[in-house]
Each structure stands twice: as structure tokens, then as C-alpha cells.
Symmetry: C3
Subunit: 205 residues, 3 copies
């Protein structure tokens, strides 16, 4: 796979997963159909728009191309019709969110590298674009963003981005590096929830 | 009217209407005078700044020119002195918000067309800049944005933007197209509130 | 001092002060270690990123250089280890926030002048970048931003920015102008809290 293909595939996966997660939150909060589509669309494209604004790539792909918003809103429609099935899975929002987090971490890092940022800047941009969708979703739902509440969240995105850059610098093929990095971030995130991994709290707090 | 005149007239109307709506929300929440001016200013210019950032027109007009912020803050002062009269109207925040929504939908669409975006991108940008002010106002007031809670909100902005682009492509004069599109969006929004129009909810939610 | 040195010194001070304030809020809200670092980092760099996006300086310094995020996150670590001491000071979040407010108001104004904005635009950008960090911190903590709740907040930043531009136009050396403007903003902010200064509220509210 070339880096463009990776970027596209992971962007599509992440947009769809985040869109579904936004739609499920909207359904739980009893929003109407349009509210569901709006929260799905906003959650799906927010990370990519943030990324594009920060590297100065305006207008962002989510406005220049039609597929990101269409896909994210489409994920809202899918959620409306498969809502009952999705809720049968244990913690569906967390799982979809973890998938979006991992894919966007790698896609954001690759975009930043393509834009000429140095490796640490690319890793940071990868993490920011990975958490951006969830932050917007949670803030629009008047919740404290889970990036703040949960121990291994931005950290999982950061780990994926670092491993991706590290694997590329070791000369691994981009496809393998990307797949491994996404898998690491997703597994790290899900395992931290399942096994209750936490970081130490501030002493005395 | 040329497209620049339309843009300016509707930007002025929208900034003032959104500014008033922000000020009324601030007064209801017992904010002090400066809080009222800040929420009025932020609500009045947020849509335009979002629009300018997304098409890469930096610094945004609201910082390059002085009138947008002065007008939006001025609307806060007007609200302070006419507050009692404004509140006598039934649902004044909703009415002002509807007017801002319609005018910004058309102004945002025209700005995007001037910047060279294709028609669907321009419609999207029109919708985003129309809802941007209200989203910021509601989030700064720690409320779930009404774009999420209310059925015909972003949809009304979307309808206005689509009709504007459609009318232009049919060769209608810009002034007539703009006036018609704004009227449609405003009437659609107000009627949906007055008559309780809703979209279907997700099955089972 | 040249304007670049001033900018750098005040950027460093403001980033650290805002970072500490974000970390203290996170500790009070019982966030875990990573949440503390994230809120410290976001609060520390948000004003600068907003400023850079608005003048079109992309990617923003906080992504291009490494020190802003490292410093802001480092302030989170400092807060974790000195938390008990910091809380012994009366109202530590307010004091640190006031220091960040004053330094960012001047640094933001200088950045805008360097970017060629006219004086009123530079003053506005100074105020926006000064309040940006606190707004993000409060919104991420699901609180109404204090820029809206408190009378002399954005006003203190505005006063500092105006005095800075005024002193420069009178030919004062940049270092003296900057130090005086920061001192004014910080003292104004702290005095307004200590002595309960308020602005008049809307009549009847």
C-alpha cells in the first residue's frame, strides 16, 4: 500500500467508526433524526478538519470532498436502523471510539508527515486529530470529554502514532507499520477499559 | 444588488440578530455587563470566523475589519437597554436566532462560491457558518446546542443554502435569490417551532 | 529587549501559568495523571494555537516547536508534585490564571503587530489569545467559562493590550511597555476579585 492509500482507508474507517459512536450517543440522549445525523457527521469529520486547519490545508478535505460528510452522516443512518443490534454488544460506543482513535492517530500522523512536519510534531498532530472527534462529541453532549476522564485514551493514540513513526524509520513497509500501530492503539484502549488499567492519581487528590 | 452587497447586508443583519440573541441569553443567566457584551460579540462573529478559517481567509474579516465585533458588541448594548421590550415578544431568542440562521446561511454560501468551492461544498459551508454562532453561544452557556436538540434547525439553514444555489444556477438575480432563500429558511425555522414540526426519532429510542 | 525576546519570555511565562491552572483544576476534579497532563497542556497552548490559526500562521508554533507542549505538560507534572503547597496559597487557580491572562494579552498583541495587523485588530487578537486557554479549560471541565461569569476578566486582558499598543505608539521601549502592560492586567484582574469589583448588570435582570 502507498501512504495515500493507507491514509484514505484509515480515514474512511475512522470517519465511519466515529460517526457511529456519535450517532449512538445521540440516540441515547433522545435526539431527533436530524440531531443524530448532525452529531454523527460532526464526530466523524471533526478530527480531520482540526488536522487540516492545523497544517494549513484549507479548505479541509471534509469540505473540499464530499465523501467525508456523506460517510459520517451515512453512519448516522446506519446507526438508526441497527441501533438495537449495536446496543447488544457490550459497550459499543467505547469499541467504535477505540477503532476511530487508532485509525485517526495513524492517518493524522501520515498527513502531518506528508505536510513536512518533523516526527514529534507529526505524532502530536496524529494524537490531536485522533481525540478531536470524541472531544467535540462529548462537549456537544454536555459531558466532560473522556480524553480527560479516562486514563488510557489520548495515551493509546499517542502510542499508536509513536509506533507508526518508529516503524517507518526502521524501514518497515507503510502498510504493515500502519496496521500494527492501529492494532496497538485499539487493543491498548480496549484492554485498559476491560481490565481497568489506570495511571496513578495526583498524591492527596 | 451585486453579490458583495448581498454578502455585506446579510452579514450585518445576521451579526446583529445573533448578537442580540447571545445578549438575551446572557441577561437571562444573570451575567454582568461585560459578560453580556462578550457573549453577544462571540455569538455574532463566531459563524463568520469559522467560515473564514475553513476557506483559509486569514485573518478573518471579524479581526481585519472593525465593524463585525463592534456591531456584535453593540447589539449587546442595545439588548441591555431594550431587554424588557424584547422579552415581551414571544420567544425572542428563537426569532432572532432564526433571522441570523437564514442570513448567515446565504452569506456563507456566497462567500464559499466566491472562494471557488463547488456548489455542494458551498452549501455545507453556508450551513456550518449559519449554525456556528448558536453552537458557540449554547456551549458557552453550558447548554446542549439547539442544533442538536431541535429538529428543523440546521435543516432550515441547509434548505436556504440549497435554494440559494439552485436559484443562482437557474439564472435568477442574486438579490432575489438571496431574499427568497433567507425568507424560506427563517419561515421554515419559525414554523417548525410554532407548529411543533419534528422529524422521526430513532426506532425504539 | 527586542520584541522577539519579549514574545518568547511572555509566551513561556503564560504557557506555564495557564498549564499550572489547568492542572490544578484537573486535580480538583479527580482526573488521573494523564487527564491532568492533557488539561495542563491544552490550557497552556490553546491561546497560542488560536492566535496562530487566526493570523494564518500554520502550523501553529505549538506544533512546529516542541517547547510549548512540553512546557505546558511539564507544568502539569510540577502541579502533581507541588499540589499541596499550591493549594495553601489563597485562590491559586485565579492567581495563575491572571498571570497567564496578562502575559498572553501582550504576547498576542505583539504577534499580531508582527503579522501586520492594525492596532485595533492586534488588541483584539491579544485579548482573544489571552482568554482562549481559560475558555478551553473551563469548557473541557464542563463549567461556564469565567470570561463570561466574571466582570473584570477579558476586560483586564483588553486593558493590558491597549496599554501595550499605546505605550509603543508613544515611543516607549518594548520591554518597559510589555512589563507595564502585563502588570496592569494582572493587578486589575486580581484586585477585581479581591475587592469584588463588578460592572453594572442589565436593568431588571
Amino acid at each position: 500500500m502507498t501512504s495515500e492509500t493507507i491514509l484514505l482507508v484509515f480515514d474512511i474507517l475512522g470517519t465511519f467508526a466515529f460517526g457511529l459512536s456519535g450517532a449512538l450517543v445521540a440516540i441515547r440522549r433522545q435526539l431527533d433524526l436530524f440531531g443524530i445525523l448532525v452529531l454523527a457527521a460532526a464526530t466523524g469529520v471533526a478530527g480531520g478538519i482540526t488536522r487540516d486547519l492545523l497544517i494549513g490545508a484549507t479548505p479541509p478535505a471534509a469540505l473540499r470532498d464530499l465523501w467525508p460528510l456523506a460517510l459520517a452522516a451515512g453512519s448516522g443512518l446506519v446507526a438508526v436502523f441497527t441501533w438495537a443490534q449495536l446496543e447488544r454488544v457490550s459497550r459499543p460506543v467505547m469499541l467504535l471510539d477505540a477503532l476511530g482513535l487508532g485509525t485517526f492517530a495513524v492517518a493524522g500522523t501520515q498527513t502531518a508527515l506528508d505536510a513536512g512536519l518533523h516526527a514529534p510534531g507529526a505524532v502530536l498532530l496524529g494524537m490531536i486529530s485522533a481525540v478531536g472527534g470524541g472531544v467535540l462529541r462529548d462537549m456537544m453532549s454536555a459531558e466532560v470529554p473522556r480524553v480527560l476522564r479516562e486514563d488510557i485514551y489520548a495515551l493509546a493514540a499517542l502510542a499508536g502514532a509513536i509506533v507508526y513513526v518508529g516503524a517507518l524509520s526502521l524501514g518497515l513497509p507503510e502498510g504493515a507499520a500502519a496496521a500494527g500501530a492501529v492494532a496497538l492503539a485499539v487493543v491498548l484502549r480496549i484492554a485498559s477499559v476491560r481490565y481497568g488499567w489506570t495511571l496513578p492519581r495526583a498524591p492527596g487528590s
